[in-house]
């Protein structure tokens, strides 16, 4: 017993314990996802059809892309609640600029530029003005939502009909793959995952956080560009509640609210669980209000399990 305690007190042993707990957490999440899928497919055989799987992937793509940035932020102990309003503003700007220039690349660049600028402001407000990110990004949410209505009250319709514009929305799965499975994606994630270590190591934390805020906003802007392509119009009222569903997916995926922990694969599964529940409720013909009720209930269970897991880990490490 004593020998075991000594073993887990060694740094290498702690990492192994941490990895096992994370793996255990992800296994539970995967099991929950599989169980939900089995239950829904029993009630609705169409659930496992290729069309529906593609639909769920398509529907999840925007959340997953934004959730990657949100995971990084939460790992660094920050949060961004302005992404829903940003998605709307980016969509309106992207469509408007594309209409005016008849150039999809310029439209997308304008949208992504707005995302980067928003992230920069969020980061500066947090690191230089020392405003708590919860408050700062709620303020930014208000600025962006009000701003988009000042910019344009009515939806911006598609007056260009450029084929490339529609391909953005169709390319969601490829983008999802790039962000989650390639070196670029892993580096993005790693920069978030190393935030705590960076702080301890004396790395420029402010710079790192500003970069993380910018990455998160850029990814939310990418989600906005995909959304506008899918909707074929820039809607100022789009993205309402988007930030909540993204944060819920990330937390459900095991990323703690206190920062310093979380995995991208957990986030992926968390987002998929919520999306599959939403999809299943419609396929099963249940009352749609259950989408909100079940998501809320699942979130409470997830946070409860997270607390239990943290307590268990603390017990193991200090034993």
């Amino acid at each position: 017993m004593k020998g075991k305690a000594m073993a887990v007190n060694e740094p290498g042993a702690r990492r192994r314990v941490g990895s096992r707990i994370i793996l255990f957490n992800e296994l539970i999440l995967v099991s929950v996802l599989v169980l939900i899928c089995i239950l829904i497919s029993i009630g609705s055989p169409k659930f496992l059809s290729s069309t529906n799987v593609l639909n769920v992937l398509r529907d999840s793509s925007m959340d997953v892309i934004a959730a990657i940035g949100m995971t990084m932020l939460l790992i660094t102990g920050e949060v961004d609640l302005s992404i829903g309003s940003l998605v709307a503003f980016v969509g309106v700007v992207t469509m408007d600029v594309t209409n005016k220039t008849h150039n999809v690349a310029l439209g997308v660049a304008a949208g992504l530029g707005l995302g980067l600028l928003t992230g920069l402001v969020n980061g500066v407000v947090r690191t230089k003005l020392k405003v708590n990110s919860l408050i700062g990004t709620i303020a930014m949410m208000m600025v962006l939502r009000g701003g988009v209505y000042i910019y344009r009250v009515a939806a911006v319709q598609n007056y260009h009909s450029l084929d490339a514009f529609f391909q953005i929305g169709n390319g969601y799965v490829a983008f999802l793959f790039i962000v989650t499975r390639t070196t670029i994606g892993r580096r993005l994630y790693a920069s978030g995952g190393n935030a705590t270590a960076a702080r301890i190591s004396g790395i420029d934390v402010d710079r790192l956080k500003i970069g993380t805020f910018m990455t998160a906003s850029l990814l939310a802007a990418v989600a906005g560009v995909i959304l506008v392509s899918r909707m074929n119009s820039g809607q100022p009222n789009a993205g309402q509640g988007f930030e909540i569903s993204v944060v819920a997916g990330v937390i459900l995926g095991g990323t703690g609210l206190g920062g310093g922990e979380g995995t991208l694969i957990g986030t992926l599964i968390g987002v998929f669980i919520l999306k599959v529940i939403n999809n299943g409720i419609i396929l099963l013909g249940w009352n749609q209000d259950l989408q909100i009720v079940i998501a809320g209930a699942v979130l409470i269970v997830a946070v409860y399990l997270d607390n239990k897991r943290k307590a268990a880990r603390a017990l193991i490490i200090t034993t």
Partner: protein
């Protein structure tokens, strides 16, 4: 000659007197206040345009405030406007129950109150469309199209907003309306799109996965209809076998959709400009203590791809209502359902 002149003068004097009497009966309030529900919404922006246009015609100073979906804020703003001395107050209630406080306050302060859109207990009058009848008209027109062009069978995807009673009435009206033409029409899906295009796109995508055998899409507002149409297109389904009916005529989206010549063929129009215009007319009536009906119904009509130009003209990204045509639309004395 003198006699003729004398008679003419008498007649003119009498006419002037009568005209003065009429003017006294038709006094206009100097200042009218409006607390909107959610001014950022395109619908309310268009209502505001109609209200401002009529107020400018009559020389009324119109002050507009936005409750921004906050009932407490609406009560506070209404009290502020009453304190500022508006002659008539107009509100578009955020909540029917919560707005009762404003009705009581206005009565206590003896300020005439016009309610727009949603009825409130204790109110004198409401200016609003008949939601059920509006949906019904859209349903009848859609049914005619289905009968003429789509083989006479209707399988409906309805995008609703069950949190709002007016939206439920519109969908119910649409279904009853289409059934007058296609008695065996089937509502295959009735989903909640939250009145938003992105949400409508999501839920319609899932609904179409469950059963894509649909040839009619109805949206309780334009965004709901257009979101479902996008879902239908994304699913790779044949839009030539589809007809779409939206509701509201709140902006340019439905006009553009109709201009494209796709499946968006019917619009259950609610003419928001006319709603704003009639609110000011009602404010003048109340200011003059005229007897008013409990519900002043504003016009609704099923626009089609063939007739919408009679009611709206489009210049660039600005649409202009054709008042002559809209004023000729027959109005219900009372709604079929509330």
């Amino acid at each position: 000659m003198r006699k003729t002149l004398a008679i003419a003068l008498c007649v003119l004097t009498l006419l002037a007197f009568v005209a003065t009497m009429g003017g006294a009966q038709g006094k206009v309030p100097k200042k009218v206040g409006w607390v909107g529900n959610y001014m950022m919404h395109e619908w309310y922006q268009t209502v505001q345009r109609g209200m401002k246009a009529r107020a400018a015609q009559l020389g009324i100073d119109l002050e507009v405030a936005d409750a921004n979906l906050d009932m407490a804020r609406q009560v506070s703003m209404a009290e502020d406007l009453i304190a500022k001395g508006v002659d008539v107050l107009i509100i578009s209630p955020v909540q029917q129950e919560g707005a009762e406080a404003i009705v009581k306050k206005a009565k206590a302060e003896n300020v005439p109150l016009v309610i727009e859109a949603s009825p409130v207990k204790g109110m004198t009058t409401i200016v609003a469309i008949c939601d059920y009848d509006c949906g019904f008209k859209g349903g009848v027109e859609t049914g005619k199209y289905v009968k003429a062009k789509l083989g006479g069978k209707a399988r409906i995807l309805a995008v609703d907003l069950p949190a709002l009673r007016p939206c439920i009435l519109r969908v119910d009206g649409f279904v009853d309306g289409i059934m007058t033409v296609i008695p065996d029409a089937v509502v295959v899906h009735r989903v909640d799109g939250s009145g938003l295009k992105d949400k409508a796109l999501q839920v319609a995508t899932d609904a179409l996965t469950k059963d894509s055998n649909i040839n009619v899409i109805y949206g309780c507002n334009d965004d709901s209809a257009l979101g479902a149409l996008q879902a239908y297109k994304s699913a790779g389904l044949d839009t030539k076998k589809l007809v779409v009916c939206g509701t509201g005529s709140e902006g340019l989206a439905f006009i553009k959709a109709m201009q494209e010549g796709g499946p968006y063929k019917v619009e259950a129009a609610m003419f928001p400009e006319a709603v704003g215009y009639e609110c000011i007319n009602m404010a003048v009536k109340l200011f003059n203590n005229e007897k008013v009906p409990p519900h002043w119904v504003t016009p609704t009509f099923a626009l089609t791809a063939d007739n919408w130009k009679q009611y709206y003209s489009l210049s660039g990204e600005t649409r202009t209502i054709n008042w002559d045509a809209v004023n000729k639309i027959p109005r219900e004395n009372a709604c079929a359902k509330y």
